[in-house]
Amino acid sequence: MNAPLSPRQNVLRRLRKDRAAVIAFWILVFLLAMALFAPNFNEYTYRQQMLQEDYVNMPPRVQALKWIPLFNGRAVLKARPLSSLSDTAKYPEGCVIRTFNERTNRGITVVDAEVDYYLYKGADESVNFWFGTDTLGRDIWTRVWRGTRISLLIAFVSVLLDLLIGTAYGAVCGYYGGKRDLILMRIAEVVQAIPNVVLCTLMILLMGGGTGTMIVALACRGWTGTAGLVRAQFLRFKNREYVLAAKEMGASDARLMRRHILPNAAGPIITRTVMAVPSAVFAEAFLSYIGLGVPAPEPSLGNLLAEAQSVLGLYPTQTLFPALIISLLMIAFHLLANGLRDALDPNEY
């Protein structure tokens, strides 16, 4: 006969059975690890500009993955006079891979030319930008992973603040009830009614742009949802027999809340917290995208998308990588949260 499982073991066992949640978990581990370490994988820093070298808007190139079109370092130059392509001063030997779309314009034969952009810019084989460079010649690989780190930092810290403030606030409201609950919850509703963008704009005006401001701005309103949820859980559990028994035995209010009610409310709170992380990532990205986020040159996923969108048609890879990472983050967090919700649901036992 198997030994009985502790609640934690039971949750983990059930979570492991959810294949989507497990995959999401490992994706998140991978993204977190990359956010922590990947910016140091090459010699470039996130703010180093290579304008003097004219390594601007370089396409991605990875020597080992050159067989994949995305990473072969090639680009298409539009409407180049056919005759000029033989000018080796401008187009070094071998840089023109192929020409296509030949037409006549003002009596001149012009073509679109696919070129080895690195050769075209005079960069040798040792120069490789894995995700390409941006309009200031900054390495996108470094910036994307650092941006991921910043976005996740903002999301995690703001959600942690949400959790701390919301839990304490909701616990007081739910446990004590009465007028205290009435007044405190109305205040929370007023805060909740303020649109996020307005609140963030005000915070930025007050404190100036920056990571700290973003965290405070997101936490300022985010805690209200947690408070509502915790209050509901406390209302549900505060009159249970085991709580009353502990109370009769002289347990203080703080102990009752901390040791007897909160652990039973942990499931929904954990699920909500995990769900709140992608929301915070998205909110940060949105605010940065509209110019209210982390100031330049510090990257964040929203900043990177905002910068890239103005050249989307010309250099789509600048949008592709941050967009891909933000999508992965969102999907992975949601899948993991779904898995946790099912695993923590006592009705499923």
Partner: protein, 644 residues
């Protein structure tokens, strides 16, 4: 069942999406197509002739009021309004020469006194608005009264004084004790307009002055009907029906923030020279979208950014020209404060802080050079960043900018000068001010203007003088401008590198209007801003190099972004207001411009970065027979419909 339902729902959504993406917006195209159809003619061969309609990307039109025109880039006035004279292009033997052509005027101005202060201009008998309302000398004089109205304070009223000082016009415009009857603009019998100037001028200068937007006639009755009760604003030009047009085209439709549909004006005085049937001036904010519309053949001419230019620069469709705007760093050095209409002093006045003065008082310098001492208005001691006034600090900034790299990034011309390449030595002259010996004499080689070692030495000296270890400065930029963002980020990194982390630039992004308001608050707040990026140019002037300095003098004080102060500039600009020889004698003009530029640069009143270029893509079917470097006038173009 559920899966099938989801599948059907997905298919329906996809179909809806595809339907939304495909085809043209009927609301967007119907008007043009209707106009096109109406204008389409049938050739003798029986084949319907395509109407010649050009579609150009343009700046957003704010108002049709010609007196509120901000710059020539607000293309509406070029297309739809006529002036007394207009710069035209004469094509002879394949070369093009600019010349001033009477437009609403019947002929060149006629001098009627011995000194050259009184001039008569005859208005064409057939001058009329598109609705047939005649434009006469009387209505023109009434228009001028509106242009110079002291309550309306039109921008054009200020610009009209650039070439000639019309008698009492400035006093009237600035709210002095002068009635309109005393201003030197009168309507005389015989459809004659008489202009009296403060000082002798030439016919060329009179024509140049009356080729500005200020000489576009408005309908005085309509203008009066659109005035606010207090007479300080007017809704003239805020709607298609609230404006009259006398230029090559009239406005058929205006979709705010989107486009203007124009049709040829049959009443235009040179209507037979206009080859287009109509035009669409389309406002598309996103540069990439403009290029996509160009590639799809939906736009014939588009302005592009440097990043797009990089991709197209070898294309026969690509054109670039200097664009009169210099991007520069402005410094709030508190070197000058301007006051206007101070009760006990005549305007305009210059107020300077003299740091060496033991009483630390302000010194008011009057036009004639006399000085009046009075109590200070702004306290220098309240400044939080006094290093901004330090000359060594300014020198450090000057030598720390790699202008060549920055200009290459933006497709501009590296600038260690103030007068742009678009400034010519006279209306008819092919010589640019920048190419004259006078202008070359004092300029160092552009490569020498970037010297990190020198910059570091100056910076260390400045820190020592100010008793600082490091300094953090905010640079205010417009969040609407990608160019400024790129530039500010480049400067931030360069300064951190060159000054080894001792100068930290904090980039303050804000909408354009907020940026301007913040910077212009220097008059009342010594710490209003620290550094700023700005495009600065005397936009309407290209034929008088010294006029480029007008914006750096107290005569332009209401619009100055920063407290520029250079004694040489100040004195020369005041002198030319009363001495017309600065304008008539181009040698004197060039020498004065060179002297002002040399002084302004040596005092580092601004740190110029680069001269911007206007980059465009033009389809091959847009044909024009001239290559005016100042202004490609697409309204004079033709469309070769066989190539479309």
């Amino acid at each position: 069942m559920r899966t099938r339902f989801c599948g059907l729902l997905l298919a329906a959504l996809l179909a809806l999406l595809l339907a939304a993406c495909g085809g043209k917006d009927p609301a967007q195209t119907s008007e043009t197509e209707t106009a096109s159809a109406a204008q389409a003619e049938t050739s003798s061969a029986g084949i319907p002739e395509q109407p010649k309609i050009i579609r150009v990307s343009a700046e957003n039109c704010r108002t049709f009021d010609p007196y509120e025109a901000n710059s020539p880039e607000e293309a509406f006035n070029e297309w739809c309004q006529a002036r007394l004279y207009r710069s035209w292009t004469l094509i002879e033997n394949g070369t093009d020469t600019r010349y001033m052509r009477p437009e609403l005027a019947a002929e060149e101005p006629v001098q009627t006194d011995a000194e050259g202060c009184v001039w008569q201009i005859r208005i064409r008998d057939d001058a009329a608005f598109s609705d047939g309302t005649a434009i006469t000398a009387e209505s023109f004089a009434a228009s001028m009264k509106i242009c110079f109205d002291p309550l309306l304070k039109h921008r054009s009223g200020d610009n009209m004084g650039l070439y000639i000082a019309v008698k009492n016009a400035r006093a009237y415009y600035t709210g002095g004790a002068v009635s309109w009857e005393e201003v030197g603009i009168k309507a005389l019998p015989g459809n004659l307009l008489e202009i009296t100037t403060e000082a002798p001028v030439t016919a060329d200068l009179v024509m140049k002055a009356f080729s500005e937007y200020g000489s576009v006639p408005v309908d005085p009755e309509l203008y009066a009907a659109c005035m606010s009760a207090d007479g300080t604003s007017s809704s003239y030009g805020t709607d298609v029906s609230k404006c009259r047009y006398c230029g090559p085209f009239t406005v058929k439709e205006w979709v705010r923030d989107s486009r203007l549909v124009l049709v040829k004006n049959p009443n235009y005085v040179f209507a037979d020279e206009i080859r287009l049937d109509g035009a669409e001036l389309v406002y598309v904010e996103n540069a990439q979208t403009r290029v996509e519309l160009f590639e799809a053949g939906e736009l014939d001419v588009v302005s592009i950014t440097a990043q797009v230019g990089e991709q197209y620069m070898d294309s026969p469709d690509y054109f670039a020209r200097p664009w009169r705007y210099l991007l520069m760093i402005e410094i709030n050095d508190n070197s000058a404060h301007y006051v206007k209409n101070a009760e006990d002093l005549t305007a305009p006045l210059l107020v300077r802080h003299e740091p060496d003065d033991p009483n630390n008082v302000d010194i008011y310098t009057e036009k004639d050079g006399t000085r009046t001492y009075t109590a200070k208005t702004l306290d220098n001691a309240q400044r939080t960043k006094p290093i901004l006034s330090n000359m060594n600090f300014k020198n450090a900034l000057w030598y720390a900018v790699d202008r060549v790299t920055l200009a290459r990034r933006e497709g501009g011309i590296p600038a260690n000068f103030i007068v742009p390449y678009t400034s010519y030595c006279g209306e008819y002259s092919p010589i640019r001010f920048r190419d004259t010996e006078e202008a070359k004499r004092y300029l160092e080689k552009i490569e020498d203007s970037f010297d990190p070692v020198k910059a570091k030495a100056y910076f260390e000296q400045a820190l020592k003088e100010e008793g600082l270890d490091r300094v953090e400065l905010a640079i205010t930029i417009s969040s609407d401008s990608d160019e400024m963002k790129i530039c500010a980020q480049f400067l931030k990194e360069e300064f951190a590198r060159i000054f080894e982390g001792k100068l930290e630039l904090k980039i303050e992004e804000m909408p354009s209007a907020s940026r301007l308001a913040k910077m212009k608050a220097w008059r009342t707040d010594v710490n209003a801003f620290e550094l700023g990026l700005a495009n600065w140019s005397r936009a309407v002037t290209d034929a008088s190099p010294m006029n480029q300095f007008d914006v750096f003098s107290s005569s332009y004080w209401t619009k100055c972004n920063a407290p520029y102060h250079c004694e040489t500039v100040e004195k020369t600009i005041w002198l030319q207001e009363t001495d017309a020889s600065y304008k008539t004698d181009m040698k004197k003009n060039i020498a004065a411009a060179a002297a002002m530029e040399e002084a302004a640069l040596s005092e580092r009143i601004v740190i110029p970065l680069y001269e911007r270029t206007m980059q465009s893509l033009v389809h091959e079917w847009v044909t024009y027979e001239f290559n005016d470097p100042l202004n490609v006038r697409y309204w004079l173009c033709d469309i070769d419909t066989s190539l479309k």
